[in-house]
């Protein structure tokens, strides 16, 4: 049997030493039929029991992106709910209908016509505009400010958005709008403004003022991230532990567990 492969210019035959592969005996040690059968059975069991991996696993987006997206989404939802729930309605649009001509009746004596009554206003309630105005109005209420801040944030105007979040917090510190603004402000400070200490304060205030609130996962995870940015790994580990204990099913929990393992001593 020739074993001289093509296109190897300086090849020399090695048939005396290396020969083409076959299923004959050697160079692997001989194996009894019983052991061969057991090996094949085990391989079959393993191959047929475990599902093959998918061709390519989708990579998770970065944690900060997931947290930011969740925060913006939740904040927007909260602001929308808040706005729809409040009692104050937008100013109605008033349309003046045409005044009908009074009927003219033929009479013997002229009767003076009554003065025309003032027309009743005809009110149409328009639906709320889809996109809020980003223009900041001095008279805006906290929930309007929150919407405007979210819009600024979505445009990447971090400092303007931060200013509005702070106004919301100052206006009604114990309101739901202020709670949302605290978490959003913490996230902005951590991710875009380079103020981890300020972020930590905002997240801690949010957790303290509304424990178990709707943004509790984001606030607690943000707290851990702020500790991480500050280099305080002990506090970060504690915050991650609390976060995982309270929100084990959060989308952020897998990454948090991994980080906690990194922080744990071997």
């Amino acid at each position: 049997m020739s074993s001289r492969p093509p296109d190897d210019g300086d090849s020399e035959p090695m048939d005396d030493l290396l020969r083409p592969l076959d299923g004959g005996s050697g160079p692997a040690r001989r194996l009894s039929r019983k052991r061969s059968s057991a090996l094949v059975q085990a391989a079959l069991d393993a191959a047929l029991q475990q599902a093959p991996e998918p061709p390519r696993r989708r990579r998770r987006p970065p944690v900060w992106l997931m947290a930011g997206a969740a925060l913006v989404f939740t904040g927007a939802a909260a602001a929308a709910v808040w706005s729809y729930a409040r009692p104050v309605q937008p100013p109605p649009v008033v349309l003046k209908p045409a005044v009908p001509e009074p009927p003219r009746v033929a009479t013997l004596e002229p009767v003076p016509l009554p003065p025309p009554a003032p027309p009743e206003p005809f009110v149409i309630e328009h639906p709320r505009p889809l996109r809020p105005s980003i223009t900041v109005k001095e008279s805006s209420k906290p929930e309007d400010l929150l919407r405007q801040a979210n819009a600024l944030r979505s445009e990447g105007k971090w400092r303007d958005a931060e200013g509005l979040y702070l106004r919301v917090i100052r206006a009604e510190p114990s309101s739901l709008a202020a709670y949302v603004a605290r978490v959003a402000s913490g996230s902005l400070r951590l991710e875009h403004l380079g103020d981890a200490r300020g972020a930590l304060r905002q997240f801690q205030d949010a957790v303290r003022l509304q424990p178990g609130g709707m943004l509790d996962p984001e606030a607690r995870h943000g707290e851990a991230e702020a500790h991480r940015a500050l280099g305080d790994t002990g506090a970060e580990a504690r915050a991650l532990g609390e976060f995982l204990a309270l929100h084990p099913d959060s989308p952020l929990s897998a990454a948090s567990r991994a980080r906690l393992r990194e922080l744990s001593p071997p």
């Binding site: 299923g23 004959g24 005996s25 094949v40 079959l44």
Partner: protein
Amino acid sequence: MSTDDPIWRRPFSLPGMRSSGSHATVAPRGEDARLTAAMRGQREATESLLLELLPRVRNLVRYLVRGDSDVEDIAQESLIALVRGLPTYRGDGRFHGWVDRVVVRTTFAWLKRSRGREARYSEDPVELLAVPSDEAPADEYLHRRQLVTLLDRLSTEQRHALVLHHVLELSVQEISTELGVPFETVRSRLRLGRTALRALASEDEAPEGESP
């Protein structure tokens, strides 16, 4: 060689990996009902096919790795990869060529994972004299066993180049592609590997006390 995809999902249509013709006992797709049944996932057919392939798989693994201690583990991994890859076999080449490629890649992946601990081998030749063979002449078995003990003393790079070229009959270009190293590097490894292997063989044949 990319390791992003599972071994059994990578394309197997590259040229080369010719079968060792005289020993090829598994026919290409369409000519062998057993292979077709195995590709459809029938356990009995798959088991029969694997039992037939097992000696070839183990031999190739042993050619590629030092020592005997890891051969069964890698062979089993290779069988698993083969079972999972069977449905993707397109039949556009020798079946044995496809099998060899899966085994080579499984072995390389295993070596990559276990880098640094793959030197557990013994040069104890006792079993060479004690193990009979009913499938090949005893001297052939002894020859192959002796040869791999020489291969065990080469560098991994030279060893793999020699095995891919002379045992699997891949061309230099195909080895270059498979290993992801330049063409000239493969040629150099082959040249040095051949020289070293011949020197070791001569040394081994020389009577005790004589230098080759």
